[in-house]
């Protein structure tokens, strides 16, 4: 599928088998309005279905990217996958181990699983404790896991910093002494410290300038190749996704609407929402021609439309789309949730 990435022969044994799986994963949040408002309006607490019935599998050493607009549930899904949120329905598995059952179970098993999954967040200014030295930040997961003795920390930290392109002497400095790109390198050094197999990146370059973004994306690609990392990459930027993903999932109002290999999705997007997102990306190397106009904004997640949630913005919506929700169905190598595609109208 991806001739441009590391050749299959370079992949470790076991490549091709799913290590990370989501099955019918869903998460609802209850929104409590202020008491006065609840009494005045006498309405029930609101529920928001941030993620609904999401299923996918990621093979070892490969990257699934999830894209969508803000509020589509992609970050909640990322947090569900590493156990930072507990699911309302369904399950997340790493190597066949149920993430949430294991983290809630015996401490030894929970710790062993935690070592195997790590996450990198969007804001490198918020994700590093300003009062800790870099050395302590990077060594903490190793010490917490009991993988090294405190005396071994400086050597290990220096090696980790070197692997993300930072000098070892930086371990004595504090986060405020670093730029955004350098901080994201530090976050990455910490995330790979315990040699995880599964790395979740939630908009890791959205806060960075383009030249720094290129450095960080290339660093992630190198680490993935060298360490056979399996990655879930969350982004709102389809152009970025094109450089990192083997497979791409498109989310809209909490659901996957299309799941496809990268080399299928970009040349031939199926779902009208995927087409719209692609058409909306300003492309500096494009022809400069008028792009298809994009209609409307995402509906209120508190009051999602019936039927297909995308129908109010969809140029192909008909009566069926307004009442019946389309399921994610196989269409060749691609999975799409769209009546128009299924009926051959599109």
């Amino acid at each position: 599928m991806s001739d441009t990435r590391a050749a299959a022969s370079e992949r470790p044994a076991g490549a091709g088998t799913a290590v990370v799986e989501a099955r019918g994963l869903g998460k609802s949040f209850e929104l409590r309005r202020p008491v006065t408002e609840r009494l005045l309006r006498r309405d029930a607490p609101h529920r928001i279905d941030a993620v609904q019935d999401v299923g996918f599998a990621i093979a070892r050493g490969r990257t699934l990217a999830l894209v969508g607009e803000s509020g589509c549930g992609k970050s909640t899904l990322a947090r569900l996958m590493v156990g930072l949120e507990s699911p309302t329905t369904g399950s997340a598995c790493v190597d066949g181990v149920d993430v949430h059952a294991t983290l809630a179970g015996p401490a030894d098993a929970a710790r062993a699983l935690r070592r195997r999954m790590q996450m990198i967040f969007q804001d490198p200014f918020a994700s590093l404790d300003p009062r800790w030295r870099i050395g302590d930040i990077v060594a903490e997961p190793l010490l917490e896991q009991g993988l090294i003795l405190p005396a071994q920390a400086p050597d290990r930290v220096a090696a980790l910093l070197a692997s993300v392109g930072l000098p070892g002497a930086d371990m004595r400095r504090f986060p405020h002494q670093f730029s955004g790109g350098q901080r994201q390198r530090i976050s990455i050094a910490r995330a790979i410290a315990t040699s995880p197999e599964f790395l979740v990146c939630d908009e890791p370059t959205s806060a960075l300038d383009v030249s720094v973004q290129a450095q960080v994306l290339n660093l992630l690609a190198d680490l993935q190749r060298d360490r056979a990392l399996t990655m879930l990459f969350i982004s709102h930027n389809l152009a970025v996704v094109r450089y990192v993903a083997d497979d791409v999932g498109v989310m809209y109002l909490g659901r996957l609407v299309e799941l496809a290999p990268r080399d299928e999705l970009f040349p031939a997007p199926r779902h009208p929402y995927t087409r719209m997102l692609l058409a909306a990306v300003p492309d500096m190397r494009g022809t400069g021609g008028e792009r298809a106009p994009v209609q409307g904004e995402m509906s209120d997640p508190l009051a999602p439309p019936p039927g297909c949630a995308f129908h109010p913005r969809c140029p192909h919506a008909n009566e069926r789309c307004r009442v019946e929700r389309p399921e994610l169905r196989d269409s060749g190598a691609v999975r799409v949730a769209c009546h128009a595609v299924e009926e051959g109208r599109l």
Binding site: T4, R5, E69, S70, S179, G180, G181, Q182, D209, V210, S211, V212, Q213, A214, Q215, L217, N218, A221, H236, N237, L238, A239, V240, R242, Y243, R262, F266, M276, L277, L278, A279, A280, V281, P282, D283, M284, R285, G286, G288, R291, P293, V294, E297, M298
Partner: protein
Amino acid sequence: MSGPLLEVRELRVDFPTRRGTLRALDGVSFDIAAGEILGVVGESGAGKSLTGAAIIGLVEPPGRVASGQILLEGQRIDDLPREAMRLMRGKQIGAIFQDPLTSLNPLLTIGHQLVETLRTHLPLSAAQARERAIELLRQTGLPAPEARLAQYPHEFSGGMRQRVVIALALAGEPRLIVADEPTTALDVAVQAQVIRLLRGVTQAHGASVMLITHDMGVVAETCDRVAVMYAGRIVEIGPVDQVIRHPAHPYTAGLMASVPTLSGDATRLAQIEGALPRLDEIPPGCAFHPRCPKASPRCSQERPELALVQRTRAACWWPIVDGAMP
């Protein structure tokens, strides 16, 4: 029109600190023609927002315009008294910022804010101003503008708020709009709508735009010319397709190559090694020389000025002459 609408001449902005004066802008010069959209790109800290702030007279203290001139239609505006500057903002120069909420008063309805702005700058009765407000909102593509006048900013989505801000910026019928990252806080689908709108309405009103952004795609689609800033200076300025497709400055070339795109090879992004220098560590000579693949000893000693290279002007001793981008 004889001269350019806006002329910026050798603009310098200093920030005095305890450890000496930091020069945040160092000799920035450019023009904007009537009806033209000029993009200003560069990385955080390059000085692009500060250039915009200097033009609208909103450099935050202790920063100050230390020297240089800013002329609008041939008249100096950088030395205006506070009150005259305040009146000129909105009347002659409109401003649009990244976060629409910073431009809107949360306690007043959209209608109130539009009518007040209109009547500050134009001799209109309350009823006329209301009609004009509805018309402006309609031009920005806001559905049901009459009903929307009575609503507060929090009742609008992000994209709709930015439409209201564009209507506000146009209210005084300004000759120039300074738009600082107007779409950065918006989702990509909404971004495209707002950019199209900004281009359409400014053309309809005959206003020029200075569009400050880090998004090269937005520049490619929107602007006539583009200025690339690095470490407080313009390193290249020229027609958009020339600068994007045939950049003359090695920094521009590196910057363009590092942008992920939807077309072409998706193997590995080109990257510029190193990082933008801090203001207190700007290298002598060409500020880009420590990161530049083409740097020579001259580059670390003599500072290059903007000079014509094919169809763009670049500040570089060794510009890329054929400049073909892959």
